[in-house]
Symmetry: C2
Subunit: 140 residues, 2 copies
């Protein structure tokens, strides 16, 4: 299994393993913010993945998107592969609301993360689990 | 054909039509910045597309990404479906460089666009055309 970049490991909680990607929760309670990290070594761009892996990443991204839409009823999803700071390929999925603190700006670099309280974090994870279905092996 | 949102029509130049998406060039010479707009009415999220359309969007996004990598040799591609301002589904593809004016921050909302000079714009388009292949009908 590819090692997680220290920045991802430090900022996020590992939630589970999908067929291709690990699912992380960003420890920022301002928005429900999940990250998919394809388990492949030395890849920074989606187009560097093999075609089958690109397909699987799309499948996982769409399953996560549908689950987030159902669980959190956002005004908009923001999906992005940036990687200017962390070169390991990872795809952000952020649930955005017209009344969130940085709308309509993007979340990256906008405000310092506001860590979850334990109970609040458990609630967000439970909501996602209800909607994400079986294509994931949950951690813990 | 779905009408382009006025903000996209105003900020961008239409370059061509792929099987699913229109290809636009953002009129901002700070970075080579292209946008795919799937030609479907009333869609704001990728997961709202039919599965075949999701596959085609991936195919077009990867073709564009490979062409941008070959044409512009960026340090990183930034690919994102945001849509907080323009609800019509559109997918940004931005070639980023460690010495570009906002690296490593995201480009959205960072700086006012710096319009292309005509010759400079023609050069960027010609570079992309050299690498994009046949899956597009060019305009003009």
């Amino acid at each position: 299994m590819a090692e997680l970049h220290p920045r991802l490991a430090g900022d996020c909680l590992l939630l589970g393993q999908m067929p291709l990607s690990r699912l992380l929760l960003m420890n920022d309670s301002r928005y429900p913010w999940f990250i998919l990290v394809p388990d492949r070594e030395g890849i920074s761009e989606i187009h560097e993945l093999a075609w089958d892996d690109q397909q699987q990443l799309l499948t996982e991204s769409m399953a996560l998107s549908r689950a987030m839409s159902a669980a959190f009823r956002p005004d908009k999803l923001n999906i992005a592969a940036l990687g200017n700071v962390v070169p390991q390929l990872h795809v952000h999925h952020v649930a955005r609301y017209r009344n969130d603190p940085v709308w309509p700006a993007p979340v990256w670099g906008a405000l310092p993360a506001k860590a979850y309280q334990a109970g609040q974090r458990a609630g967000v994870i439970a909501s996602l689990r209800t909607h994400l279905g079986d294509g994931i092996r949950w951690v813990g």
